[in-house]
Subunit: 491 residues, 2 copies
């Protein structure tokens, strides 16, 4: 049965909660007195619909119904989850919670998005503190999984367990703190870093942009996959967490931050942290952790490269420079011998191209052939500048023969022949090699299109001429083995 969530307060955070519930199949009822509330929530929903459904390799449940209500009492009707995201003032929060509790289901979860208040402060003077808890999410709520769940002894254990199950069901990770504390956990780190950053900018050490780069090109990439302690466990190497802490212990007394009120590093505290770290990651050796870390970084940095963002933009720039200074940087007029197959790809198989069969995944063969096609297109003049004028080639048909396996770390090359082309057509043949070992062939038929109409049309005369030059120069070569083959045809 479709469940209902009530969203009380519809700003960036409330809107994010609404999107998270709605796209996971819940009905969502909104209360927000702001006359702009519907527009603002729709803006968040537009972004969420764009990014969340494709995040998984399987479809989410059918989207629920969203409705807007003028009174809190209407909005909470039938809701098993009520999320309060009103402004960060304790008097407003308490007044809102009282209104919610006037009519809501006593077994419903009332989660508060508060960044700073403790649950005991929210429960004070409430009709039923047992159903009120901190559920502090992170922006964008529809994508980031973390929710800090903070409760007190007054909370009903069954409602708390149900809250954690419901959060897991909408793809979130409930982190249930052992005790309440001002600003919970994550925001305490953010606050510490924020204060230090204010000093650095004020003292003229670095600009905001330089500080952002110091984070996203360095420890930000480590933290996104392992966090703080596991990262340091790896840094400590084979000597372990205790060694790491002993080595960096003295730094606690050094002026490495302006934030100097630090705990005393007693043996007890060292043992506590080293023991917890063992329980967390002791089943992996440091070498294993290093490989996990590196695989994650490769996958993330390559992902960022696909977006030309952060550390990925640095990779893209390096690639461009490497390519320009190699045989791959040529244009058609420079090709010494157009009558031979042309080198269109030379790359190492990355870690994240491996699948459960322990070899390069079939889709990555087409990725590599597609990259080779892009390179050949650029060679005949269909490069980024030409594409920006509104013409490009689309692949209409592909035939791949997998001849042999290949593994991460192997240098592969693709050499390309032109079997036909001119006008709107291009018929090419790729062979992928590891040295002399043939790994696969790719036969591709492409059509030149007008990117406005999305219909086929002739390529520019310059491209046509460059393409025909290759077709003619290579006409003397015998038809490659496997060209024109269909699946099921006798070999």
């Amino acid at each position: 049965m479709t469940q209902t969530a009530a969203i009380i307060g519809g700003g960036v955070i409330g809107g994010g909660w609404a999107a998270r519930f709605l796209l996971n199949g819940w009905n969502v009822r909104i209360f927000d007195p702001d006359p702009q509330a519907a527009r603002k929530i729709n803006d968040v929903l537009t972004n969420a619909r764009r990014s969340l459904p494709g995040l998984l390799d399987v479809a989410l449940p059918k989207e629920g119904q969203i409705s807007f209500h003028d009174e809190i009492t209407q909005a909470v009707e039938g809701a098993v989850w009520i999320q309060e995201s009103v402004p960060e003032r304790i008097d407003i929060k308490r007044r809102t919670l009282a209104e919610i509790q006037d009519t809501c289901n006593p077994a419903a979860v009332i989660g508060s998005s508060t960044s700073g208040f403790k649950p005991s402060e929210l429960q004070q003077d409430a009709k039923r503190g047992s159903q009120i808890m901190v559920c502090h999410p992170f922006n964008p709520v529809y994508l980031l999984p973390l929710v800090e769940v903070v409760t007190t002894e007054e909370n009903d254990a069954q409602i708390t367990e149900s809250a954690k199950d419901l959060l897991t069901g909408i793809g979130m990770h409930p982190l249930h703190l052992k005790k309440e504390i001002d600003a919970h956990v994550a925001d305490r780190f953010l606050e510490a870093v924020w204060r230090e950053a204010l000093w650095l900018v004020k003292d003229g050490i670095a600009t905001t942009e330089e500080i952002d780069n110091a984070i996203r090109y360095g420890f930000g990439l480590r933290w996104a996959q392992m966090g703080l302690f596991e990262t340091y466990r790896v840094a400590g190497g084979e000597a372990g967490m205790k060694h790491f802490m002993a080595q960096f212990g003295p730094a606690l007394k050094w002026p490495w931050t302006k934030l100097m009120d630090v705990p005393e590093l007693t043996d007890e505290l060292i043992d506590l942290i080293a023991g917890q770290s063992d329980a967390q990651s002791g089943h992996f050796s440091i070498r294993e952790l290093e490989r996990i870390r590196d695989s994650n970084l490769v996958a993330m940095m390559r992902a960022l490269k696909s977006q030309d963002a952060g550390a990925g933009a640095l990779l893209a720039a390096q690639e461009q420079s490497l390519r320009a200074n190699s045989e791959l940087g040529q244009v058609a007029a420079d090709i010494v011998d157009p009558s031979l197959p042309i080198l269109t790809l030379r790359r190492c198989v990355p870690l994240d191209w491996t699948d459960y069969n322990g070899h390069m995944n079939e889709a990555k063969y087409l990725q590599a052939f597609g990259d080779a096609t892009d390179r050949f297109m650029a060679l005949v003049g269909c490069d980024a500048a030409y594409i920006a004028t509104g013409g490009s080639y689309f692949t209409a048909e592909t035939h791949i023969r997998h001849i042999d396996e290949v593994h991460a770390g192997v240098l592969i090359e693709v050499r390309t022949r032109v079997l036909g082309g001119g006008g709107k057509k291009m018929h090419i043949w790729h062979e992928m090699y590891d040295g002399d070992r043939l790994l696969a062939t790719g036969e591709h038929f492409l059509l030149h299109v007008n990117l406005k109409t999305r219909r086929p049309c002739d390529a520019s005369t310059a491209i046509d001429a460059a393409l025909r030059r290759f077709v003619e120069a290579q006409a003397h070569l015998p038809l490659p083995t496997g060209a024109g083959r269909s699946i099921g045809a006798p070999r």
Copy 2:
């Protein structure tokens, strides 16, 4: 001409520098008195060779030569870059730098990997302070691009510029600080977070693992792509950076961290930060920044899912649960009507499947067909448990016809027919739809293999029977349009 780097001190950091230079085509000369140095550096090199070359979509230059030397004077011979990574004690650093300067090229860069010392401390009493600078990298040095470059007025501007160029050439990002300060920039943040984390563990608020999860499921993912200030700029929404700072300004006086020695938030400081943030990101609207942020997060989180790590492991668990509770969770015996095409994929096209032509990239069609094949394999019993026993199917041949375009956000389905199979063979036919709109067909011929010998062999009798059941039930269907076609054959 091949350039030479001298690595003085070969621990985790020195070894990482060695790998970074070597794999970017430099010759590397190592000095480290530790008798285990060669083994340790080879361990780092093994990891680096595994992850770095495939990080780019183009091959790196040919690897340089590595050599080990008993004396610093030998190691620095011919080096244009000398990197000092000896233990973090100023007396050892100064003695090492003096020995390096006895014989090194006066125009060479001498970079120090120091985490904490200022360059003026390293230059004190040196023969030529002009060539000594802090070049502080981040572990793993062969993957993370950040290097903090810190100089003083004593430094030679030409050597400093050349240092920055050389770092860029090996794929790094030199962040040249405006002034020296203890611990530079990034480690000051790490130290602040570390101190706060010690308090949280000591006070029993959260364990090390919970703290790591609070980072990697939340702000860690934001920081990996945008850092601190740009993230807050987005969080501030349309009201801008000043509004964000005013809103969170009061928190500086609140007990949100135990680290309380904070700068006064004057109008001057607010203007300074807001102005720098404008210069950094003012050319994007908040909506644009939000979309950039979300695209990055999708790409990174999907990348982490491919590794079953961090926030990606949460996605994988959610996927599994969604799949199990849908039509896609069936096994062969549950299929109501095996005589009709079978639903094998139902997913939304993710953001990061779009290419420069503005539509789903050709390789992602095969990705989706490959996922559909995996699902069909599991349906007939070739699931993860069976694969763990040593049998699986490898694709031998693929033929894709692209019928229509599709864009990110669209829900696509694949329906699968079995054209033949039994023994070691499987011949399947996928059709990809957006509603009733046919997007593409995929014809695939697979062979069952023994995963030890990597040679074809018959599938288990259970799989054989399940497969033949589908073949027989679907034998009455007409051959699909396009099946058996080859490229270039008349339509």
